[in-house]
Amino acid sequence: MSGRPPGESPGRSAHGRIEQVDEKPRHLEPADDGEATSGGRARKGDQAALGELLRRSARGDEQAFAQLYDATSARVYGLALRVVRDPAQAQEVTQEAYLETWRTASRFDPAKGSAISWLMTIAHRKGVDRVRSAEAASRRDTSYHDTNNTVEHDSTADAAETAFEARRVRTALKGLTSVQREAITLAYYGGYTHTEVATMLDLPVGTAKTRIRDGMIRLRDALGVGGDRHE
């Protein structure tokens, strides 16, 4: 898979992602504080470039890792913030995620997954672990549960949502049934387990995991990723 030259299949990168066709304009940089590359990213060649940075990081290349950080920190921090909500903790989660990425970079295998998926898997796990351990520590803290039992639309995410990729994801999410979308939102952004999601959405026990799986499959197909990965 990774041995196929990029030009062989028109419109497909070495990792099988469907390229954006050229008539679509390059996405605008999200309006931010002008930090050089934190928001800017081009899908074309993106994964190959990040994979290379991760490969070099595995050998201790701190410059490469700095570039990886710049290319991905808004995504990692943004996700951490959605999941743990508190900015100070989101920073800690982000830091933990990047340190873990640095530490385990040699385990990344580009033939089996993209660099961004590797990084975001680590980041998401760190965020979820943090929010669940905080919950366990302040067990039965009513205010925490009160603010978390509705399906929210985070205004921070709305403000940052100027990137093309964000619109692409939201469009793909609209293709899901409302239950699938709500289940995935609670699971992914809320850090809830599927059994908790079932309770929160008044679903029979065990059905939330099916909704999540069906929704994620649809999302995957709509976004055109991960389709040609074989074992």
Partner: protein, 280 residues
């Protein structure tokens, strides 16, 4: 579990609890179809973050880039890596390790067929397909399951719904010897920093530390072959802990109670004398 494959979606977005995670990862070890599906769904979930991007403060970049200078990247996987083994007393029938449910464990990487290098000792036991399992429901409604892996020479105790012990009391683990005596299981007093962070602002209630707040380091310390404990990490002064630091159990002052008595707590302090010392 009736249809374990159905957990692939929930697993790919971490919407599983620790018990389900361990069972599903056990399943993944022998199911290439699920591994491929999880990998593909993770590609999709990674893009969900695009809808929530937020630029972090510039100081975070400095913190991350200086943090990595103190962390050694893992070398590439080699076959037959060492597994930490502790010498058990031959008289003990089974050595039991307490699993801390809810503590973040090693990251599962489904892209490697042999994942044992990145799994914690607990995960290796829970994922042994030949492990034996014995469950018991306790009178208070909690369940306790011992998962025993002869191959790993270890067992893991997993509890669910175990209530908090009464104030001033803790749970203690006892083992039965072949002669049917019961002996307490003493954990090691030495370990290594598994991960760490710093607390730079006074935590909210129920934190009961002194009003005047001094930032501190805290983290998880791995007691080799046993458990990972959450603990304070004093003794670094202006320096920082490093993952892998050798640390040993100590007692440190925590606060003064209303009766004017000193309240102490446990901590792990670097064994090396090169760490800048604190007053305690």
């Amino acid at each position: 579990m009736s249809d374990i494959h159905a957990l692939s979606g929930a697993y790919a977005v971490d919407a599983v609890d620790d018990i389900e995670r361990a069972s599903f990862e056990r399943h993944l070890a022998s199911c290439p179809t699920c591994r491929a599906e999880v990998a593909s769904l993770r590609e999709a979930s990674a893009l969900l973050a695009d809808a929530a991007t937020t630029t972090p403060p510039p100081a975070l970049r400095d913190a991350v880039l200086s943090g990595i200078t103190r962390v050694r990247p893992l070398p590439p996987v080699t076959v037959g890596g060492p597994v930490h083994r502790r010498k058990w007393f031959p008289a003990l029938v089974a050595a039991v390790v307490l699993a801390l449910v809810g503590v973040g464990g090693a990251v599962w990487q489904p892209w490697r067929d042999d994942a044992s290098q990145t799994l914690s000792a607990t995960d290796q036991v829970l994922q042994d397909p030949e492990a034996q399992q014995v469950s018991q429901t306790l009178p208070n409604g909690a369940t306790a399951t011992v998962v025993r892996s002869p191959k790993e020479h270890r067992a893991v105790l997993v509890t669910e719904d175990l209530p908090e012990p009464p104030a001033g009391k803790v749970y203690q683990l006892w083992l039965q010897t072949p002669s049917e005596d019961m002996v307490p299981f003493d954990l090691s007093t030495r370990g290594t920093v598994w991960t760490w962070t710093s607390q730079n602002f006074r935590p909210p209630a129920p934190y009961a530390g002194p009003e005047e707040f001094t930032p501190y380091h805290l983290g998880y310390v791995e007691l080799p072959g046993e458990v990972i404990v959450e603990t304070y990490l004093p003794g670094y002064g202006d320096g920082r802990p490093t993952i892998g630091d050798a640390v040993e159990l100590t007692i440190i002052p925590f606060s003064t109670n209303e009766a004017g008595e000193e309240v102490v707590t446990y901590a792990f302090r670097p064994v090396s004398s090169t760490a800048a010392g604190e007053a305690s």
